[in-house]
Structures are given as structure tokens and as C-alpha cells.
């Protein structure tokens, strides 16, 4: 054997911590320990994310350009349909739409692929041990990369249309994205675990996401519905995706009604129909904070449930 000198066990035990698998099977690791396990395997998470990206555009000449073409096409189509053909309604509708669509796509596509991540990786789940959560989080990571790529298109469109996003409200964007990831991660864990036992979940999710999309103010502006709901508009905000999407729209689209632009603060001659809530940064922040807090609780429950169901993944899959 012509291998160089190899370290012995005693060397290894000095440096590497000794993970103990299943010290006590009755007491399953709690949510915090599960997160620590995922953190310990962050390199695997990065590698699996990279794998998803590589495999998706492998052997295609344009590669990542495909990620950009999708929002570009949306921009063109919506610009033609709403600005030229219909010629009415919300100014720069394509920008408004894309500002909400990008975070929604991050949510819905990740949730869809996260749900099938355990069942789709059966060969890994039945043969190797590692924190299973990593499998669920990897497609979220890959879609996050797509999200940033597609945001470039949106940024380009803003330049092209000479629209300025709100500097003030843009400070909320990192928090909005963080909240979205928190909520998405928790939900994906639940769906992925349940899908192992009930494959109906993935089909149900498709319908659920369709309904959810139309319950979220992406195609239509928030105030069209909220103004009619009156004092019940909080019900609309109870959809966790609403405050997230609203923050993106407020920061990027930056226009609260069809009359005057919020950026210029100009008093519109004819007060237009409302688009986004004309509220302070604090109001947007408060809504996000509620969703974030609820997501933390949900994540705890999701990790607990995932841990309960995980034990039999290898045989149920």
C-alpha cells in the first residue's frame, strides 16, 4: 500500500469531537440541538445547494441566464399587456408585480421542492446518516441564489424605467427576507416530514399554493381589498406572506397610490386609488416582526415534529 502516513485514532480523538449518535433513543434531541446539528453540517448544506444549482442548468448553454430570462419575460409581457393593451390601472404595473412575485416565487418554489426533498432523496435517507433537515434546506438555498439573480433583473428594470426605490423602506428588506426564510424553513420541514407518510401532501400543496397566491396581494394591490374590508383588513394581514410581500412592494415599487408618488411626496391633483398602505416604516416593521415571532414558534414546532417523524423515514420512504 503506497499511501502516506495516516493518522491514528488517538490523533483523531484529540482534535475531532466525538459525536454520540442516539445516546438515549427515548429522549430525542430538542429543536435547538437539531439546529446545532444542521450548523455542524453546514458544509453539506452548501454542497447540496451547489449540487441543485449545477444539476438544474447542467448541459444547457445559457445556464444561469435561464434564471434571468424568466423575470425578463414577465416584465415584457406585463408591460405590453397592462401598459399598452389595457393602458390603465396601476402605473408601472410590471414593476409592482415583479416586486411581489420574486419573494413569492422564492417561497412557493422552495416550499414545493422542499416538500419532496426527503422522498426524492430516498437513496441518501436509507443509507447515510446526517441531519435530514439539510435535505429540506438545500432547495431553499438554491432558490435563494435564483432570487438574488432575478433581483438583478428587477434592479435593471428600475434603472430602465427611471424609478427610485425607497431608501427608507429598503432598510426593512433584509429583515423581510429573513422573515420569509424563517417562515419558509419551518413550513418546508413540516410538509417534507408529513409527505414521507402521506404522499398526498405534495399534490395538496400545489392547490394550496395556488389559492395562497391569490390570497396574497401580488397581482392586485393590497388596498383594493383592504379598503373594502375596512376594520377587518387585519384579517388580510394575518396571511404571513402579506406583510412580507407588502414590504418588498413598498420598498421597491415605492408608490402608495395611483395619484401621487410617495417618493416625490407630491400632492396628487386627483387622489388616485390606493395601492399600498400609506403607513410608516414602523408599521411595516411591526407586521414583519409579528410574522417573524410566529415563525420562530412555528420553527420550534416544526423541528420537534420533524424529529418525531424522522425516525421512521428510512422505512416509510
Amino acid at each position: 500500500m503506497s499511501t502516506p502516513a495516516r493518522s491514528t485514532v488517538s490523533d483523531l480523538t484529540d482534535t475531532a469531537p466525538l459525536p454520540v449518535i442516539g445516546e438515549d433513543r427515548a429522549a430525542r434531541p430538542g429543536p435547538l440541538q437539531r439546529l446545532r446539528d444542521v450548523w455542524a453540517y453546514r458544509e453539506l448544506l452548501a454542497n447540496l445547494t451547489r449540487k441543485e444549482l449545477k444539476v438544474k442548468y447542467k448541459d444547457s448553454i445559457l445556464g444561469f441566464a435561464w434564471s434571468l430570462l424568466n423575470p425578463i419575460l414577465y416584465l415584457v409581457v406585463f408591460w405590453v399587456v397592462f401598459q399598452i393593451i389595457l393602458g390603465a390601472g396601476i402605473p408601472n404595473f410590471a414593476i409592482f408585480f415583479l416586486a411581489g412575485l420574486l419573494p413569492w416565487n422564492l417561497f412557493s418554489i422552495s416550499l414545493g421542492s422542499g416538500t419532496t426533498s426527503i422522498t426524492g432523496n430516498a437513496s441518501l435517507v436509507t443509507r447515510v446518516w446526517f441531519p435530514r433537515e439539510v435535505l429540506v434546506f438545500a432547495p431553499i438555498g438554491a432558490n435563494l441564489v435564483h432570487f438574488f439573480l432575478q433581483s438583478l433583473v428587477l434592479a435593471g428594470a428600475l434603472l430602465l424605467f427611471r424609478l427610485a426605490p425607497s431608501a427608507e423602506y429598503s432598510t426593512l428588506l433584509p429583515f423581510a427576507l429573513f422573515t420569509l426564510l424563517l417562515f419558509l424553513g419551518a413550513l418546508a420541514l413540516v410538509f417534507a416530514a408529513v409527505n414521507v407518510y402521506l404522499r398526498d401532501t405534495q399534490h395538496l400543496l400545489e392547490l394550496l399554493l395556488l389559492a395562497w397566491f391569490w390570497m396574497t396581494p401580488i397581482v392586485y394591490p393590497f388596498r383594493t381589498v383592504a379598503d373594502r374590508l375596512g376594520s377587518w383588513s387585519w384579517l388580510f394581514l394575518a396571511n404571513p406572506m402579506t406583510p412580507i410581500v407588502l414590504t418588498f412592494q413598498r420598498a421597491i415599487y415605492n408608490q402608495v397610490d395611483t395619484g401621487g408618488g410617495a417618493a416625490t411626496g407630491g400632492k396628487a391633483i386627483n387622489v388616485g386609488t390606493g395601492i399600498l398602505p400609506d403607513a410608516s416604516v414602523l408599521w411595516y416593521f411591526r407586521n414583519l416582526a409579528i410574522v417573524a415571532a410566529a415563525s420562530v414558534v412555528l420553527l420550534g414546532i416544526a423541528l420537534w415534529l420533524f424529529g418525531r417523524l424522522e425516525g421512521d423515514f428510512a422505512e416509510e420512504i
Binding site: 500500500m1 437513496s123 443509507r127 428510512a314
Partner: protein, 275 residues
Amino acid sequence: MTPAIEIESVTKRFRLYHEKAPSLKERVIKFGRLPHEDFWALRDVSLAVNAGESLGLLGHNGSGKSTLLKCAAGILRPTSGRITVRGRVAALLELGAGFHPDLTGRENVYLNGSILGFTRSDIDRIFDDIVAFAEIGPFIDNQVKHYSSGMFARLAFAVAVNVEPEILLVDEVLAVGDESFQRKCLARIEDFRKEGRTILLVTHAADLVRRISLPSANRPTPSPRSARPSSSGVWRCPTRRSRARSGTRRTRSGSAPCASRPPNHAEVSSGPVIT
């Protein structure tokens, strides 16, 4: 000395569901409970493998060897009992489990390494060893889907044995590659044993166990830290019939291999060491 692998009265029950899918009505009536039969793959199994020991599991098809290994690897959760594993584990349950056909050999080595819990810099260090061991040469940058099955198996095995786990769980995967490569695999496992790593091996072939797990007369001391020299032996999984009948607790304490050996052990272990 604390055992590296400690299995305490582990029981594993599988549920065998009947093939016919029940109607929704049936499910509702039975509150979602489906008719099933219990199958006890393991019943009250106890054994311990000390650090630096090699242990072979022998048994017929369906006697629960692989189930035990999967429980030790953390893939299956035992129905009851405790399993404690101290050390970094590499489980060779099936070769190339984490390999993606569309990625190149190089990318797969890094991916597979991280699945086993190793960092990029760990793999960087041993990457050349892996390629050399797999005898794969320039093909390392080709997509794995273009590999021959032998190349695939060699690369997968090379990753698993070069990541230097403290504990190696092997499930009848040594029959890969041509004869010279098989010899090389066996030699590597023998090296593992000499370096004082812990091995739990499932096999059908008793002679394989003899070759791999039994110490030679001038047995090297595995590592200065371990108080005892490495010992090894064969632990036979009870056959399905005998388990169903007795259900008794079978213990094999690795620290006293001679005293508690199952009756079948002697005939296997008396042979010479062929490596």
C-alpha cells in the same frame, strides 16, 4: 475502557402492510390504522464493540444483520433499546449512495465527503489519496454517469475508506472491482484494524471475517491510548427461527472475547490470518 459501539437490548419492529391499498372508507372506519403484521427484525440484541476492535456479524439472509448495522449508523431508529456510538462513523452500507450521476467524480468526492461529515479542507488533504486509491486517473473530472460500474464502485469505496473514520460499518460491499482491487480493499480494512479503528462488518462469508477481523499472532498495539490490545471476533446473528423461539438476550462483550464467544465462533476464528 468505554466501548465505541454499545448496543443495549435493541429491538426493531417493522410493520408489514398488506399490499392492497385500503379505501378511504376503510381508513376512516379504522381511524387511519391500516391492517399490518409486525415483523421483529431484532429482538433484544445487546453487544459492545470496544474501540480498536473488529467484529464480524454472520448470519443467514434476513437474520437482521443489516438492520442492526443501520440502527448503529443512525439510519433506523430502534423500536426500543439504546445504541451509543462514540466516534466519527463512516457507514459503507451501499456504495456510492450519495453520488449524483450528473456531477463529475471530483464534485462527487467533495459532496460525498461532506455527507459523511467532513469539511472541504479535510477532503482537500486526502483528495489525491482517493484518486490514487480508486485508480481512476483522468476520469475524475468526467461525469459519474459515464463511469463503468467498476469505476463507480472503486471511487465510492475509495472515498469511504480514505476519510479516516474512527468507526467503520461495512455491509457486504467488498465485492467490488476486479480481484486485485478486492485485495486492496481487504488490505485497507486490515490497515484500519491495525491503526486501531473500530470495525463492525456484516458478511455472509466466514472466511472474509477470518481474513479481516482476526488479529495475527504478533498483533500490533493499535494506539497508545487504548488500554487493551485490540481484540476481535465473530458475532453471529441468530437465525430468524431461533429468535422467534427464544427471544433471549444475547450479549457479546468485546472486552472478554474468549469467554463469551458464541459456540460457532471457534471454528471460524481458528484459521490463519490471510492478508
